[in-house]
């Protein structure tokens, strides 16, 4: 057995182990851990996965993904909430059918994603980054300034209007946990499948050599636009789940802080592999909760600062030690093992064969 196949086997085993743990989590962990840490990990991981997909396979680091998640959530919130006595107070309060609203929210987000993608598809590097940041800023300003769709106050009660097949996620948080887990697995599988299709292979070609791919006859801009639309689809699903999980949406769920949060998650996990999205989300949320509880109210000893300081230090350490994030550390360990493996002489190898 070669080291590569051993690595694949170990990864599969770990994957199965994590899945078993995830399925058993409701009986293993506290309600807080289940709801706030694990469910949120799957949801933010989906959002980060849309970024990692674009980065790892399309060479596009997008800062629009948090904005796209927010657009889906806001669209859903405006469509499903109702103006009834004791009901919600912000947003359009359209009171539409939740199933229809989910479909429309995702379609709207994907539609905007295609438009955003088409505009940005001919930009690369820092220009692409800035354009996508602009999209997030536009989304933030729209929902915060157009008070009819929300304003600065939160749109609340979104979790009270879920489709029948989803059920009551307000009182049954386990249900939402399994929904988030299931969707995360499907998204993971979808992306893994997609990157092996001819579209995915050509997208990776465009990532590495856009000029050469163009000269071979591939439509670079169209491929990048399609990838951005797919990223928007994934982000939209994350946004819908986030709206159900949080129950409320406010502009700060879309703003610059949310954009940076998603980027930090993706970088901590690793921008090179799709698994990094969920690993980064888990690390980020755990650090967030644990550090916030342990830091004195006036900040860290000696250096001062709070959670942002800690996550900043972790971010720096990871970027310096392993630019590919936590997943990258894993890969490096195996690379190290491979480099120490005694090389078999070619002749011996062929004789053996």
């Amino acid at each position: 057995m070669t080291l590569s196949s051993t690595k694949a086997l170990v990864e599969r085993t770990i994957g199965v182990g994590v899945l078993v743990l995830a399925l058993l989590a409701p009986v293993l962990v506290s309600d807080f851990w289940l709801d706030t840490v694990l469910t949120q990990t799957f949801i933010l991981g989906i959002g980060a996965a849309s970024l990692v997909f674009l980065s790892a396979y399309g060479g596009m680091i997008s800062l629009a993904q948090a904005g796209l998640m927010g657009i889906a959530g806001y669209a859903l919130g405006n469509m499903v909430t109702q103006n009834v006595p004791g009901g919600e107070t912000k947003g359009l309060l359209l009171g539409w059918n939740p199933s229809l609203a989910v479909v429309l929210a995702i379609l709207l987000t994907v539609g905007l994603g295609f438009i955003f993608g088409a505009v940005a598809s001919r930009s690369f590097g820092i220009y692409f980054l800035m354009l996508t940041l602009t999209y997030s800023v536009i989304a933030y300003l729209f929902v915060s300034q157009v008070t009819q769709v929300g304003g600065f106050s939160p749109i609340a009660g979104v979790d009270e209007y879920t489709p029948g097949f989803i059920g009551d996620v307000v009182n049954d948080r386990q249900r939402l946990y399994y929904v988030a887990l299931g969707v995360a697995i499907v998204i993971y599988g979808l992306i893994r499948y997609l990157v092996r299709t001819p579209f995915g292979i050509s997208l990776q070609g465009i990532r590495d050599e856009p000029s050469r791919m163009a000269s071979l006859g591939y439509n670079v801009a169209l491929h990048r636009t399609l990838a951005f639309g797919i990223g928007a689809f994934v982000a939209a699903i994350g946004g819908v789940l986030f709206a159900w999980w949080s129950g409320q949406l406010s502009p700060s769920n879309i703003g610059l802080a949310a954009t940076i949060e998603l980027l930090v998650i993706a970088v901590i996990g690793g921008l090179g592999r799709i698994e990094g999205a969920w690993l980064g989300a888990f690390a980020y949320i755990v650090i967030n909760n644990e550090v916030t509880n342990r830091i004195p109210s006036d900040g860290l000893p000696v250096i001062g600062g709070t959670f942002n300081t800690v996550i900043g230090i972790v971010f720096l350490a990871i970027v310096i030690a392993s630019p590919d994030g936590l997943v990258g550390i894993w890969d490096r360990i195996w690379d190290l093992a491979r480099s120490r493996e005694p090389k078999q002489p070619a002749a011996e190898a062929s004789a053996a064969g």
């Binding site: 008070t147 304003g151 106050s153 939160p154």
Partner: protein, 468 residues
């Protein structure tokens, strides 16, 4: 043989992964399990954002009540967030499990309330501090009936009127209530009939502005223009240009948040010339003007809405006792500040409720939280603030006037006493009416319960003279 070894390794790895995972998660799970036999309380205020300065005020206010009514021992007289020990109520120890740190955004408030009430398992939250945070937390706590929230100092209307969960209480007025009486004062004393209003475009700005609009229109005034700068605006010039010119209206109401007040007034001067204080009024944000703002001296003389407290009130025994206790407990903190006082009242109510429920929390505590409670700055009903059916305070209000202080800079003095102000403004705001917003409330002439009953306050003494 090699194949067998391979399987053994795989098995070992998979068992190891699962075992380590279970151990890690279980240890965290166990670590966060709640201790029994104690009441778990969290205090949440803002330590970041526009109201970050008020963190110690809120915590200090709550803990002063714990010290006065529940034997709490202060750890550090200069720093309330250093903690408090020895709190007991209803025969049980009260443990402050954590301090929440908001930044006036709903998202952070939600994150903090989950941390405090789910991870740290607080039974009761005293907080939050600002309007949209309270909207978010009211919505969060609504489907969680075993948790109890006593709002700290938030002024948005929605939490107790439109959302109104049964496990949420507010022992102080909302932003509209705080402004009761100001419309009548400028109508009668300055002769305003037509006015424009500029207010922050979020729930507290809308609620605060709603109180001014309702009060001014009720007596016969007209609001001819409403302008809405977004929260945290720094350049107000374009919004000022949307206001009518001086001469087209009798005056302007300013409901523009804390740090924005100075820049907004300066932008007005740049557009329309020096300010005449008789043409300007507004909400409590004008209190925050200091000598550092060069426009502040020209606001001396302006009438301003209150904050539910009566700074400088004299001749009331309960007030004197309260101030003396605050000075002894936290000498550096301002007893008459609304950020401090409202948390104090909320925590005081919590202790009374726990005493009545024998330390039981959840629904038992909610049933036993007081529906009327002594309050130092309350003169009506023998000094008791009452809660209405939505668990919202009906409270005396205290409009103020900006005057020249001892140091020559602007200071405030009480100018009126408005008795028994309720959240509905005599039925104008209802559960079914839209929450305050850009178009709400409409400008309506109406008889308000306190109309014609505002008493003049001179040199900190409430006189028998009715405002004319």
């Amino acid at each position: 043989m090699k194949r067998r070894q391979g399987w053994a390794i795989r098995l070992l790895v998979s068992v190891g992964v699962i075992a380590v995972g279970i151990a890690a998660i279980a240890s965290v799970s166990m670590a966060s399990s709640a201790a029994t036999g104690t009441v778990r309380v969290a205090v949440m205020s803002d330590c970041k954002g526009a109201f970050g300065f008020a963190q110690e005020l809120g915590i200090g206010g709550a803990q002063t009540a714990f010290a006065q009514f529940a034997k709490g021992k202060v750890r550090n007289k200069k720093k309330p967030s250093a903690g408090m020990t020895g709190i007991t109520a209803g025969g049980k120890n009260v443990n402050i499990v954590g301090y929440g740190c908001g930044d006036d955004t709903p998202a952070t408030a939600l994150k903090e309330v989950r941390r405090l009430m789910q991870q740290l398992k607080a039974d009761v939250l005293v907080g939050p501090l600002s309007g949209d945070e309270a909207v978010a937390i009211a919505n969060w706590v609504k489907p969680r009936p075993t948790k109890t929230v006593i709002i700290g100092t938030a002024g948005s209307q929605d939490p107790t009127l439109q959302i109104a969960p049964k496990n949420l209480f507010r022992y102080h007025g909302d932003g509209a209530q705080w402004n009761a009486g100001i419309g009548e004062i400028v109508y009668k004393k300055l002769g305003w009939r037509n006015a424009a209003i500029i207010m922050d475009d979020y729930s507290f700005g809308w609620t605060s502005g709603a109180g001014i609009i309702a009060d001014f229109c009720a007596i016969g005034g007209k609001i001819t223009k409403r302008v809405f700068p977004p929260l945290n605006t720094t350049d107000y010039s374009s919004y000022i240009r949307q206001l009518p010119k001086p001469g087209d209206v009798d005056g302007y109401f300013w409901v523009v948040g804390g740090t924005g007040t100075g820049p907004a007034l300066k932008a007005f001067e740049q557009a329309y010339g020096p300010i005449d204080a008789k043409q300007h009024s507004g909400n409590l944000f004008l209190w925050f003007l200091t000598g550092k703002d060069d426009v502040a001296p020209r606001m001396i003389g302006a009438y301003v809405g209150g904050f539910g407290t009566a700074p400088g009130l004299k001749g009331v025994t309960a007030v004197n006792q309260y101030r003396a206790f605050v000075a002894k407990t936290y000498p550096g903190l301002p007893s008459d500040d609304g950020f401090f006082y409202n948390y104090y009242q909320g925590a005081r109510a919590l202790i009374e409720g726990l005493n009545q429920s024998n330390g039981e929390v959840g629904v038992r505590l909610q049933a036993n939280l007081p529906r009327s409670i002594f309050a130092p700055f309350e003169l009506s009903d023998n000094g008791k603030v009452k809660l209405d059916s939505n668990r919202q305070a009906v409270q005396d209000q205290w409009p103020v006037q900006i005057i020249k202080g001892k140091d020559g800079g602007p200071a405030i003095t009480l100018t009126g006493y408005v008795p028994n102000v309720d959240q509905t403004f005599g039925g104008l705001f209802t559960k079914n009416s839209p929450a305050p917003g850009r178009t709400q409330p409409a400008c309506v002439k109406k008889k308000l319960p306190w109309q014609g009953k505002i008493r003049v306050v001179k040199d900190g003494i409430v006189t028998k003279q009715i405002l004319k």
